[in-house]
Symmetry: C2
Subunit: 139 residues, 2 copies
């Protein structure tokens, strides 16, 4: 599990800039899914709002982060922990948990995704599961 911003950027053949490093560092530190506005709150002194939008877009395109479903309407993102460029490793196919109390969304690695058998004619490409409730820190 790579945890070094500079190395992650190199591995994905992206230029190493301070904004990209800081966004990565924030994801690693927070260990939870973050929205653009979460990042903006944390990094607004250092970087422009627009740069953060573009950084997220670049990271999405290089499979460095992925979208995490959220019931609030805000789009959240999380690091692809093992995926490398181009592998499309279905890394994001796991259970996400959103705490109603603290609002954090985290990955639950302990729980594996159930196999879903769809009716005839349906082709399953990706499964996303979001559990809402109270997390261990808040309960």
């Amino acid at each position: 599990m790579v945890q070094n911003p500079t190395k992650i950027l190199k591995d994905h053949q992206l230029r190493i800039t301070s904004c990209r490093k800081e966004v990565l560092r924030t994801f690693i530190e927070k260990k939870s899914a973050l929205s653009h506005s979460d990042l903006e709150d944390i990094l607004k002194e250092a970087f422009d709002r627009v740069t953060i939008y573009r950084t997220l877009k670049t990271f999405l395109e290089t499979d460095l982060i992925h979208k995490v479903l959220d019931d609030s309407g805000a789009t959240k993102y999380a690091l692809c922990t093992h995926g490398h460029k181009g592998t499309h490793s279905h890394d994001h196919e796991h259970v996400h948990f959103k705490c109603e109390s603290c609002g954090r969304t985290i990955c639950i690695d302990e729980v594996s995704l159930p196999k879903i058998k769809l009716p005839d004619g349906y082709v399953n490409k990706e499964v996303n599961l979001l559990v809402t409730g109270i997390c261990s820190q808040c309960s």
Copy 2:
């Protein structure tokens, strides 16, 4: 399964207005999850954009509709098919399917939601499952 807009509104103790009836009629007719902009496209000749926003808000608050997860970022809504005011029937706890081809999001009633056992300390309140792929009409 109630399918009459006026009766649904009465059951939820809401005033019967033409906008509310038309929004409900559209949900019933389309049989799929709809976003604000979907509704706006269909009803813009008849009602103001703002009125549709407020109608959706009212319907959410009275548990007449619920949010449906979507991977595109657009918030979609669907009718709570059996729920009545105040029951919080966990009606939306089923599998949703989003077709990458036609973009429609529908409920898959044939597939039941797997039980998820979370790690200690986590309290499970609601489970949402979104499968992305190709629907039977598009494949």
